[in-house]
Symmetry: C2
């Protein structure tokens, strides 16, 4: 299957610790890189994880708190120094447009890559390519915040090469067959598509939800994705603090995964008090079976 990987560059929260970096992930979809959030030090983690700046063309910022976006001017300026060329799209909540625009224009004076700063205005489709869509969904934090859903588009059926060669099917007919058409031979025989192809690979999807308080509306917007990354800043004994700070507990992250019908859950955005993330993972696993606690440098293949 084509590459669809989630790379964890940082899964800590606002206050830095020696164990975690601030928020950042890079989605590798068919060797194109898409970044979600860009905390301080993200450019350095790109290097450490061997992710190529030249393949990065889209950066999505969930909200304008420093631990999610303060690495942005630095990475863009580095891409200028490295002469990666071309252009890069940076999607930021409307609230952050002015300050990000000013900061980026001050620090990134190279002509390339051309930096396009695109506001996110409510639930919307941010990117729509022949193979992928990226949508923004509202989250519920102390400031305007968005989750992102990466959905692979439905794929073509697999051609049964042996059968195609045996029947001498002309190449010009293959695109239609890949999309499910039957094939009529020169002698008028109709070959049903099921004999010429096998089913396509499933279309995969990934959702990123950080930062947010628990809200069932998030589960509804996310739906049955293959993998849900959901913030789990605290264990349930700090549920009140979670509400006060606009965050979720590990149990609430698991509840969202369950309500959404997600296949697997990845948690992160740990408060600095958790040196060991196992209590967070264990708490979520009581509610939802397939839970992984994110760590820096982790790569998950969908």
């Amino acid at each position: 299957m084509e590459k669809f990987e989630i790379n964890i560059l940082g899964c800590g929260s606002a206050v830095p610790t020696p164990f975690h970096n601030p928020a950042s992930q890079v989605i590798n979809f068919r060797d194109h890189l898409y970044m979600i959030d860009c905390g301080e030090g993200t450019q350095s983690m790109m290097r450490r994880m061997g992710l190529k700046f030249s393949r990065l063309r889209h950066i999505f910022i969930s909200h304008m708190h420093g631990d999610h976006c303060l690495g942005l001017p630095g990475i863009l300026s580095t891409m200028g120094l490295l002469e990666v060329g071309g252009h890069i799209n940076v999607y930021v909540p409307r609230q952050g447009l002015d300050i990000m625009e000013r900061t980026i224009r001050f620090f990134c004076r190279d002509e390339e890559p051309e930096i396009h700063i695109i506001p996110i205005d409510g639930a919307s489709t941010l990117l729509d390519t022949p193979s992928l869509t990226v949508r923004a969904i509202p989250l519920y934090h102390r400031v305007e915040a968005y989750g992102f859903i990466f959905s692979e588009k439905p794929k073509s059926r697999h051609i049964n090469g042996e059968m195609i060669r045996y029947l001498n099917v002309p190449i010009r007919d293959l695109p239609a067959i890949r999309e499910g058409a039957d094939w009529t031979a020169p002698d008028g025989t109709i070959y049903p598509n099921s004999r010429l192809t096998s089913p396509p690979d499933p279309s995969r999807s990934y959702a990123y939800c950080s930062d947010t308080v628990y809200n069932p509306a998030v589960a509804k917007a996310v739906g049955p994705v293959d993998l849900l990354y959901h913030e789990a800043t605290y264990t349930s004994d700090l549920a009140e603090r979670a509400i006060a700070r606009g965050h979720s507990t590990a149990a609430q992250a698991a509840a969202i995964a369950k309500e959404a019908g997600a296949k697997a859950l990845l948690i992160g955005h740990y408060s600095k008090r958790y040196r060991d993330t196992e209590p967070l993972r264990a708490e979520a696993a009581e509610i939802f079976p397939d839970v992984t606690a994110a760590t820096e440098s982790m790569t998950i293949r969908l």
Copy 2:
């Protein structure tokens, strides 16, 4: 002797590498912390090196290139979250005042620490305490840039306790004796200061010069400091590139140390091409005897 230590948090240059962080140093002078430059990830290095945010009250920014200042909003925002209280002075070149002010006000919404942003306007004394002065000197880079000189003030002479007790010198006379006065006993005998005290500890000084092209004016402004940190971005085979980019070679850093009459030289701000910094150190050592190549987490005691 009282503490006067230089902590290296980052000694790389603009493009991040897995081996170096962008520029930042913390001077520990009698357990008060003074930061010079604050590249991305500096707050995380503070934690890693066990340097306390609550002891940091002054941050000096040499110039407004991202690798010297993009960690500033993050560290200030973290100090708010950690509730360190009080106030903090941030000194930035006039050129960067507007953008830094806007960025800091956007990301740092806590009432404490109160953040004072102070413009640096040419060669000037930025800080003058009873024990320390910090001066800005002009550097010669592509943008307005400053070096900083930390000078310990002359100290009092050491009291010879045995003699003082033997002569029954009253406590009220000690301050004058510490400053060098002779002492007249009740019987009229004059005791010369040299019998009552020994010479004070030497006053130490440290200069930070990064980023700059080679310019003899820098040596003149620095003078005979105990330790000079000078950027050494390239080896001499790249001398032309150094000029074009507003940087110095290792040989030029050594020449400045020699011309200034510095006691020792510390080099840093290495271009990403030097995985091993020994060629830079060796080049400088041919011109100036006491050269150290900075590395992250290094602490140098003056």
